[in-house]
C-alpha cells in the first residue's frame, strides 16, 4: 500500500508549511502570530475544561475520518461522510427521542440507529456504483445536500418536536445520554469507542482477509478481480460500512454531546475528515493522532478569534490547504480503474 507512508517526513514538512501560512494569514488580519498561536493553544489545551473540549472535537472528527479512510483504502472516494454523519445523527436523534426504555437498552439501539442511517446513506452511493457504475464522488456530493435538506424538512415539518426551539428533535431522556468520562464536561465514552474502532480497523486492514480484499480492490483492482474478489460487492460493502462508521459518529454526537439531533450538528466534520484521513496517511492509528491535532485546531479557533482577533476561518483555510498539499496520489489510494 503506497499509503504505508513515511509516517514522519511528509507530515512534518507539511505541518511546518501550514504553520507558516497560518502565521502569514494572522499578520494579514493584523494580529501577531505568536499571540494567535498562543490563544489557539490556550483555548485548546489551557486547562482541564479546554482539553476535554478538544477531546470532544477529536471524537467528532475521528469517526468520519475513519469512515473516509475506510472507503479510500478500498479505492472509493467517499466525499459523503458529512451527509452520512447527518443521517446517522438524525436517525439516532429520532430513535432516542422515541425510545422510553432503560439506558442500557436505549443507548445501543440509538447508536445502532445512527450506524444504520449512515450505512443506508453510504449504501445508496454503493448501490449506484456497484449496480449502475455511477460515480460515487458525484453520488456522495449529491447525497450530502439531500441529507441536509431531508433532515431540515423532517425536524421542522412532520416530525417537529413540541419542546424544540430550533431545527432539532426532542431532547433524549437523561438515561439515554452516553456516560461521561469526566464529570462536568461534554466528553463521553464515545472517545473510547472511537479509539477501539481505530484499533480494530488497523487490525482489520493488516491482518484479515476482508481487509486484504478491500486494499486489493483499492490498490490493484484488476489483479483483485482476477484473484476472485468481487469488485462490485466490495464497493457496496465498503461504502455501506464507511457510511455506518460516519453515521455512528453522528449518533455519538447526538447521544454524547447535544443530547438531541440538531441540523447544525456538524460544522463540516465530514469534509475536515478528508484532511484528517490524509494527514493520518489513511492509517487508523495515525488518524487517531491526526484527529487530536485537528481537534486542537477546531477547539482553539474560537479562542484565537476572541483573544487574538484572528478570524476563526483561518483554520478552515489551513485545512483546505492541508488537503491540497497532501492530495498527491502517493498518499491517496490509487483509484480503481473506471472510477
Amino acid at each position: 500500500m503506497t499509503a504505508r507512508m513515511r509516517p514522519f517526513a511528509g507530515p512534518v514538512t507539511g505541518a511546518v508549511a501550514l504553520i507558516v501560512v497560518a502565521a502569514a494569514a494572522m499578520l494579514l488580519a493584523g494580529a501577531s502570530p505568536i499571540a494567535g498561536f498562543a490563544a489557539l493553544l490556550r483555548g485548546a489545551l489551557g486547562g482541564p475544561h479546554q482539553v476535554s473540549e478538544t477531546l470532544v472535537q477529536t471524537t467528532s472528527l475521528l469517526f468520519p475520518s475513519l469512515a473516509v479512510a475506510f472507503a479510500f483504502r478500498a479505492g472509493l472516494f467517499n466525499i459523503g461522510a458529512e451527509g452520512q454523519l447527518v443521517m446517522g445523527g438524525l436517525c439516532a436523534g429520532l430513535a432516542g427521542a422515541a425510545l422510553a426504555v432503560p439506558g442500557w437498552v436505549a443507548i445501543p439501539l440509538i447508536l445502532f440507529a445512527g450506524a444504520a442511517g449512515g450505512a443506508a446513506w453510504g449504501g445508496v452511493a454503493g448501490v449506484l456504483r456497484a449496480r449502475f457504475g455511477g460515480n460515487e464522488v458525484i453520488a456522495t456530493l449529491m447525497l450530502n445536500i439531500i441529507a441536509a435538506l431531508l433532515a431540515n424538512y423532517l425536524v421542522v415539518g412532520p416530525l417537529h418536536a413540541p419542546d424544540a426551539t430550533g431545527a432539532e428533535t426532542s431532547e433524549l431522556p437523561r438515561s439515554s445520554w452516553l456516560p461521561l468520562l469526566l464529570p462536568d464536561s461534554r466528553l463521553s465514552v464515545a472517545l473510547l469507542f472511537g479509539i477501539a474502532l481505530a484499533v480494530s480497523l488497523a487490525y482489520v486492514f493488516r491482518s484479515t482477509a476482508f481487509g486484504y480484499a478491500l486494499r486489493a480492490a483499492g490498490d490493484a483492482p484488476e489483479a483483485a478481480r482476477r484473484a476472485g474478489i468481487d469488485l462490485r460487492r466490495t464497493a457496496l460493502v465498503a461504502m455501506a460500512l464507511s457510511g455506518a462508521i460516519a453515521g455512528f459518529g453522528g449518533a455519538t454526537i447526538v447521544a454524547g454531546v447535544l443530547h438531541r439531533f440538531n441540523v447544525a450538528l456538524s460544522p463540516g466534520y465530514g469534509f475536515i475528515a478528508i484532511a484528517v484521513a490524509l494527514v493520518g496517511g489513511l492509517d487508523p492509528l495515525w488518524i487517531l493522532v491526526a484527529s487530536f491535532a485537528f481537534g486542537i485546531l477546531q477547539s482553539g479557533s474560537l479562542s484565537m478569534q476572541a483573544y487574538a482577533h484572528v478570524p476563526k476561518d483561518v483554520v478552515t483555510f489551513v485545512e483546505g490547504l492541508a488537503i491540497l498539499a497532501l492530495a498527491t496520489r502517493r498518499f491517496v489510494a490509487p483509484r480503481t480503474a473506471g472510477t
Binding site: N135, A327, R335, A337
Partner: protein, 304 residues
C-alpha cells in the same frame, strides 16, 4: 411571481449562475478533469467581485477580478492534477474548504466584519441582463468550439484518451490546464453574477451548493455545453417555481432537493443512457477504463 413573464425572468436570473458553472464543469469534464471545486470557484468569484467593487467603486473591475479569482482557483486544480500528481477529487474538496475559509477570513480583513459585506456598487439591471444573455451565448460558443475547432477536438480527445493526444504530439497536461482556466473564468463570472448582478453584497455561503447543482447539470446535459445549459435553465426554473409551489404547500426542501435527486437518477442511467468521457477524472498517467479492461464484471458504463 404572479405573472408568467415574472416567472420567466426569475427563472433566467436563477439559472444564469448555474449556466456559467455548468459550462465550466462541462469543459473540464470533457478534458478529463472532474471539477469538484466549482462551488469554491463561484465563492471566490462572488467575493472578489464585491471586494474589488468596494475598493475601486467599479463593478466592472469587480467582474474582471471575479474572472481572475475563478481562474486562479480552477487553474490551481488543473496544475496540481496534471503537474504534481495530486488527486483531482481530493484536491477539489480541499479547494472548496480553502475558498470557504479564505473568503470568510477575507470578509473580516477587507470589510472588517464577519458574515456579509456592506452594499457595494453593483452591475445594475443593464449589467445583469447582459450577463444573462452572455451565459446563453457562451453555451452556443462553447458548443461550437468543442465541436468544430482543433482545440475543441484536443479537449475531447483529452477526455477520452489522453495517450492518443500525446501520440499526436500535443501535451495533454497543457490542454487540461487550459480547460480549467476557461472553466475558472466562466465560474468566476457566475460568482460575480450572484454577488454583483443579482445582489450588491457578498455573504458567507451565498453560493449555497450551486457548484454542485452545476455538476448535476453537466450529467443531465450529457456532457455537452448546450445540454448542460439547458439543464441549468431547468434547475433555475425549478428554483423560481419554488416560490410559487411553496404557497401551494409543497415543501421547499423537496423543490431544492430535486436537482440533486435528478442527478442521482441520472447516475443510474435509467433516465436515458449517457456516457461520461472515458478519461473523466482519470489522471494522465493512468489508462481510462475502456482500454484493456473490457472484461465482464468491470464497470462498463459509468454514470459519470
Amino acid at each position: 411571481m404572479d405573472s408568467f413573464a415574472g416567472f420567466v425572468s426569475l427563472s433566467l436570473v436563477k439559472a444564469t449562475p448555474l449556466v456559467f458553472a455548468a459550462l465550466a464543469g462541462t469543459i473540464c469534464e470533457r478534458a478529463g478533469i472532474l471539477n469538484i471545486a466549482l462551488e469554491g470557484a463561484l465563492t471566490v468569484g462572488a467575493f472578489a467581485a464585491v471586494a474589488v467593487s468596494f475598493a475601486t467603486g467599479s463593478p466592472v473591475l469587480g467582474l474582471f477580478a471575479a474572472v481572475l479569482a475563478g481562474i486562479a482557483l480552477c487553474a490551481l486544480l488543473g496544475i496540481a492534477a496534471t503537474r504534481f500528481g495530486v488527486d483531482q477529487i481530493v484536491a477539489g474538496t480541499g479547494l472548496n474548504l480553502l475558498a470557504a475559509g479564505g473568503t470568510a477570513f477575507g470578509l473580516v480583513v477587507v470589510f472588517g466584519q464577519p458574515g456579509a459585506s456592506p452594499e457595494v456598487h453593483a452591475l445594475g439591471a443593464g449589467g445583469e441582463k447582459a450577463l444573462i444573455v452572455a451565459a446563453f451565448v457562451a453555451a452556443f460558443v462553447l458548443q461550437a468550439v468543442l465541436d468544430r475547432t482543433p482545440w475543441g477536438l484536443r479537449v475531447r480527445a483529452c477526455g477520452e484518451n489522453p495517450r492518443a493526444v500525446r501520440s499526436a504530439g500535443v501535451d495533454p497536461r497543457r490542454v487540461r490546464v487550459t480547460a480549467t482556466v476557461v472553466a475558472g473564468a466562466l465560474a468566476g463570472i457566475g460568482g460575480a453574477f450572484l454577488s454583483l448582478g443579482e445582489l450588491d453584497i457578498y455573504s458567507d455561503g451565498m453560493t449555497a451548493g450551486r457548484g454542485f447543482i452545476a455538476l448535476a447539470a453537466v450529467i443531465f446535459g450529457r456532457w455537452t455545453p448546450l445540454g448542460a445549459a439547458g439543464a441549468a435553465l431547468a434547475f433555475g426554473a425549478l428554483s423560481a417555481l419554488q416560490f410559487v409551489l411553496q404557497r401551494a404547500g409543497v415543501p421547499s426542501e423537496l423543490m431544492q432537493a430535486l436537482p440533486y435527486l435528478a442527478a442521482l437518477a441520472a447516475l443510474t442511467g435509467i433516465v436515458g443512457r449517457a456516457r461520461a468521457p472515458a478519461a473523466d477524472g482519470v489522471p494522465l498517467d493512468e489508462r481510462p477504463a475502456h482500454i484493456g479492461r473490457m472484461a465482464k464484471g468491470s464497470v462498463e458504463n459509468r454514470g459519470d
